[in-house]
Amino acid sequence: MRIAVCIKQVPDAEGRLQVAADGKWIDEDEIKFVINESDQYALEEALTLTEAHGGEVVVFSLGPDRVQDALRKALALGAKRAVHLADSAFHGGDAHATARALAAAIRSEEFDLVLTGAQSDDAGYGATGSMLAGLLGWPHAWLVMGLEVDEGGGSAKVTREMESGMNEFFRLQLPAVIEVQAGLNHPRYASLKGIMQAKRKPVDRPTPADLGLVADEVGMAGSRLEIVDVAFPDSGVGAQIFEGDPATAAKALIEKLRNEARVL
């Protein structure tokens, strides 16, 4: 089977983030970028599936030049090929504009399955995958914790985690778009051999025109959503610290909860 995996490169959550000068995003200058966490699980799932059923994995990513590090890593982990939507016309888009670009790139080949993470760790819209499914006209499942492709490859059974510890199982026809949650498998390490082989694997960089798109359908020009402002929430307001040993502090806390907050 042929599986497309959409990965996003996001700032490392452990870095110290600063608001950029224009106030509309974070300053990307001194931060480290990594593959979005749930996307790493999507890639692992795809690699395991092709190991079991045969076939190949192609990774897709939209973003500036730095994104090639993420794609290299995906190739080192075992993907066959990468498609980098690197043209500046693709950049700065909302979830819909991004999904439109990805859909066009995915449609230009044949795939049995699109796998991606359930949500990005930076923007966190959790919308790109479902829009991608809508644009492709394929069935879709979100927050997936288990995935099995049925004999013959025509359908797949997915497990979704519900509230209160219940699971939901359902079957969908392939091709489909499946968005996975972090934790559904154990992402592998890139082996040294894999890293050396990745050097020779192809990375395509199509332009919007190559994909039959007009530049203002994608990227910032094609977006209906605009980030107006990003800011840190005010800190230090309303917080109280109880001094003293644990027993004294606990007493003071109960006192406050009872008499001021009136929740006890």
Binding site: D12, E14, K32, Q68, D69, R72, K73, A76, Y189, A190, S191, L192, K193, I195, M196, A198, K199
Partner: protein, 408 residues
């Protein structure tokens, strides 16, 4: 699990290729995920974490510079970065990989017969077999040319007699690369585990490199097939060639230990509060220590990187490697001590990695050529005067043979 952020004060990552950075990331993640959570316990229990061997083999960490037998064929900077990250975890773990790769796979690959290579390189690369390297003896450390272990050809067998001491992985090894004196000079032999006449036992009571096994090997009329001679070894220089590989790696490894000590001390200093609610990092004396560490680490990175470039270009000389091993292990030793100071009492307990690194580095300072021996190697290069032997009139023993200034 907290990720190691790396130490790159001078934007030296720009010197690395994409592959080199990815390789470092893989080993860095492996160390953070799988080594750090168990290493203090291994150190306490004096246990070699053999459970990590299959994973290290799967990643391709054994014999990684060899390009045959399905091994990755990495360049020397990549190899160095691997050892840097491993030693950030523990010097003992790095020793395991150095011995397996540089002291066992390298000599079999470089000096072995086709049959020896075909048999051992895949087995050692996949971690199914473990190797050790026996050069040092109870009475000959810095001067291995004086060795008393002998090998005598008897029909189609070699007969080995003697003993080797301080041998990393000695009791764990399936195959030992043993150096012995023959009628044709010093040569290398492969001795397999359980060969009659070959015994091994562990050195106990170590306060350093406790997560690594150190052993003594004994040979009493130990008979091995004539085919177990490494045919392309012709003298001590072959053993020294192995050591050059390993010492090159240690120049990088030392930086790993130094980085772990520095980053631990930096974090601690920013959080530990003593006077006026201020962290201890706000005091000039503490900053001085942190700045010393990051400056020396940065200089060490440049040194290691240039050694890698020279090695890739086949222009590296043993005295270049001596400078790297000597300097970078010294930097690690000083960083461990300064970090120990910065952590105060917390510096002496194994809740933090500092005291373990501080103890480990004492072994690293001594093995693979002591710090002082490497000083003499560089000294000989720049002055043209070898200073290994004491002046003639004070020598009582017979003068050692030539090319003895080396050790494991």
């Amino acid at each position: 699990m907290k990720r190691f952020p790396g130490v790159d004060f001078l934007e030296l990552d720009a010197l690395l290729s994409d592959e080199e950075k990815l390789i470092r990331e893989t080993v860095r993640d492996f160390v953070d995920d799988m080594v750090k959570p168990i290493i203090e316990e291994c150190h306490r229990d004096a246990r070699t974490p053999l459970e990590l061997v299959p994973k290290m083999a799967e990643l391709g960490l054994f014999g990684s510079t060899i390009a045959e037998y399905g091994l990755p064929g990495l360049g020397n900077v990549s190899y160095g970065l691997i050892l840097q990250e491993l030693e950030r975890g523990d010097s003992g773990l790095r020793s395991f990989v150095s011995v397996q790769s540089s002291l066992v796979m390298y000599p079999i690959y470089a000096f072995g017969s086709q049959a020896q290579r075909d048999r051992w390189i895949p087995a050692l690369g996949s971690g199914e077999a473990i190797g050790c390297f026996g050069l040092t003896e109870p009475n000959f450390g810095s001067n291995p040319g004086g060795m008393s272990t002998t090998a005598r050809l008897d029909g189609n067998e070699w007969v080995l007699n003697g003993s080797k001491q301080w041998i990393t992985n000695g009791t764990l090894a399936d195959v030992a690369v043993v150096w012995a004196r023959t009628d044709d000079g010093i040569r290398g032999f492969l001795v397999e585990k359980d060969t009659p006449g070959f015994t091994s036992s562990d050195q106990h009571g170590k306060f350093s490199l406790r997560a690594s096994t150190t052993s003594e090997l004994g040979f009493v009329n130990c008979r091995i097939p004539a085919d177990n001679l490494l045919p392309k070894t012709t003298g001590l220089k072959n053993a020294l060639m192995c050591l050059n590989q390993a010492r090159y790696g240690i120049a990088w490894g030392g930086l790993g230990a130094a980085m772990e000590c520095y980053t631990t001390a930096l974090e601690y200093a920013k959080e530990r509060i003593q006077w006026n609610g201020q962290p201890i990092a706000s005091h000039q004396l503490v900053q001085d220590k942190l700045v010393w560490m990051v400056t020396e680490i940065t200089k060490g990175q440049l040194l290691a990187h240039q050694l890698g470039k020279l090695k890739d270009a086949n222009r590296i000389k043993h005295f270049h490697i001596s400078m790297g091993k000597k300097n970078n292990v010294w930097v690690a030793r000083e960083c461990a001590r300064l970090a120990r100071e910065v952590l105060g009492a917390n510096g002496i307990v194994d809740d933090y990695p500092i005291i373990r690194h501080m103890l480990n580095i004492e072994s690293v300072f001594t093995y693979e050529g002591t710090h002082d021996i490497h000083t003499l190697v560089v000294g000989e290069k720049i002055t043209g005067i070898p200073a290994f032997n004491a002046p003639e009139q004070t020598v009582k023993a017979k003068p050692p043979t030539k090319a003895t200034a080396a050790s494991t």
